[in-house]
Amino acid sequence: MRNLLHEIWESVRRNKLRTCLTGFAVSWGIFMLIVLLGTGNGLMNSFDQNGSSFASNTASVSGGYTSKPYDGLKAGRRIRLNDGDLDITSGELFAGIIDDVVATVGTRVTVSYRDKSFSGYMDGEYPAIMKMEKIELKEGRFINERDIRERRKVVVLPESTATNLLEKGKAASSLVGEYIKAGGLAFRVVGITRADHGRNDNFFYAPFSTVKTVFGKGEELGSISFTFHGLDDLEANEAFEKQYKAAVNLHHRAAPDDNRALWVFNRYTSDLQMKKGRRILDVALWIIGLFTLLGGIVGVSNIMLITVKERTHEIGIRKALGATPGSITMLMIAESVSITAIFGYIGMVLGMVACSLLDKTVGQQATVIIDMEFRMLVNPGVGVSTALEATAVLIIAGTLAGLIPARKAARVRPIEALRAE
């Protein structure tokens, strides 16, 4: 073993160019593979994070405009949801599918605190909306059942709305317990939530019952949100939506197949589409990764081929001095494995360093697109096991590819090998 290592070391030391070329091919292949997979993982993590702000089995419904005449009424009529729709939603018709139902009613109000004021949007909500939309509380509490029952005049402000009411540099949490004016009435701030970049920064939450009675909304509703279960694929969801729309449409004397009378935003189906996109990205990454690896393997085999060719004369000398074919093959392979392993390791480490650099630079930058915060890369990088596996595959495949010419060279009659230059 020590003899073999010494042989390898001598040969590597005296053939620096050949060693460096092989090493570069290997390092580069692994480096590219890891950076590529790492970036892909980062993209995918960002997909997951940007899409995770809603519970996936919720849908919200709001009124639209009819697109066709029906029951003697012309097209283009505005549909406003009302308490009757709430009854349909939570009624027997969909009892097997729909679980929790909450309604929202909103009103435009002028909000002011001390000398600051703006035109805002007050959302009358039920406590359950918190779970459905994954609202994150930062300070205080959210709307509770007692607020609803007693029609309390309390509000919960998203952080971004709160800062609009405060002087620069003041923390949003300082508003908790304070009274703000909304629509001419005083409301106590009971909580602050994390900013929702999906919406404008001038809305805030209040109890459903308060908004409905104080602002005289009557039976009118802004939107209905509900959770559901048992709809596992796209077809089931579409069938359910069709059935649901038909029921609500009829209640408003709109055609049952009128698609535009009612807007249904189903998080589940949009999640499904997201998942599909993620899967495609995943497969694409794997294919590109495999081809990169294949490129590396071809590079290594190619250099092995050249190395063996270049060393044919040396092989002839060794054979004349009594080297067996087995010892020749062993020497070639051992040398190739050592070089590939060492340089593969270097490439792997560099690739991981590059991934962490990406994380520290691009990974920390967020782009805001239409009030939505996107991070291009989230935690780019690959697991150590994946990196080691890829390196091992490259070493093994490169070696197997080199084995063929090495064995062939080892079997040539020594006189032929000696003639080679």
């Binding site: 001598e10 074919p325 006189i415 000696l418």
Partner: protein, 240 residues
């Protein structure tokens, strides 16, 4: 007899068959110093390659010390070459990325001799050939004569029964050639090594005790040259 050849035939087939050796019968005894002489294309190198088990032959029989050398596996052939034969080539065939001493050690490496013992023996042989000071030099740092002496040390290190030299002076000037031939002669006389030299130079052949002339693939005259007076040009010096 150490070496026995009976009816050796060898045909190369590179598109067109070329009958190189046409029934060679030859015996060489232990301790002989023999040269095989012939013009280029006469088949002398092919004969040497067969003697050295570097190449195979088509028909006939070849015995070394009573062992039939025919249809051997590469592994067996390697073992025979390693233990019984030492090679000296025209172009030295030293491994460029190994130092003189490492080159000399190599046959022992394939015998499985330990590192320290290998180094010790190799140094001994280099010293014997007056190259102790050049042990850690690479072949490209040495003169032709020095390289050939390294090659001779390498051929001797396993104490083989036979030394095969293929045009050993072909790449050397006349004085160095003479030196090398004297060295081989001394080895033969003092240590009783059987030496077979292939050459086309009559001066080189004249240094040996027996000259086997080969022409068009058959053995011609076998000349006794113990008096070393064979060549018109040969006596006294090697002409280049």
């Amino acid at each position: 007899m150490l070496i026995e050849l009976k009816g050796i035939n060898k045909t190369y087939d590179n598109g067109q068959p070329l009958h190189v050796l046409k029934g060679i019968d030859l015996s060489i005894g232990a301790g002989e110093f023999v040269s095989i002489m012939g013009a280029s294309g006469s088949g002398k190198s092919t004969l040497l390659n067969i003697l050295g088990i570097l190449d195979n032959y088509d028909t006939g029989e070849y015995y070394i010390d009573g062992h039939l050398i025919k249809g051997l596996s590469e592994k067996r052939a390697a073992a025979y070459r390693n233990s019984m034969i030492g090679f000296i080539f025209q172009s030295f065939n030293l491994i460029g990325f190994k130092t003189a001493v490492e080159n000399v050690e190599l046959p022992l490496f394939y015998q499985g001799v330990g590192r320290r013992r290998r180094r010790e023996l190799a140094m001994q042989y280099l010293d014997k050939l007056g190259l102790a000071g050049w042990a850690s030099h690479y072949p490209n740092e040495m003169s032709g004569g020095q390289k050939q002496r390294v090659a001779i040390a390498r051929a001797l290190i396993t104490s083989p029964k036979i030394i095969l030299a293929d045009e050993p002076t072909g790449a050397l000037d006349s004085s160095t050639s003479e030196e090398v031939m004297q060295l081989l002669g001394n080895l033969n006389r003092e240590e009783g090594v059987t030496i077979i030299v292939v050459t086309h130079e009559s001066g080189v052949a004249n240094c040996t005790d027996k000259i086997i002339h080969i022409k068009d693939g058959v053995i011609g005259e076998i000349e006794d040259n113990s008096a070393h007076r064979a060549s018109v040009f040969g006596a006294g010096s090697i002409m280049k």
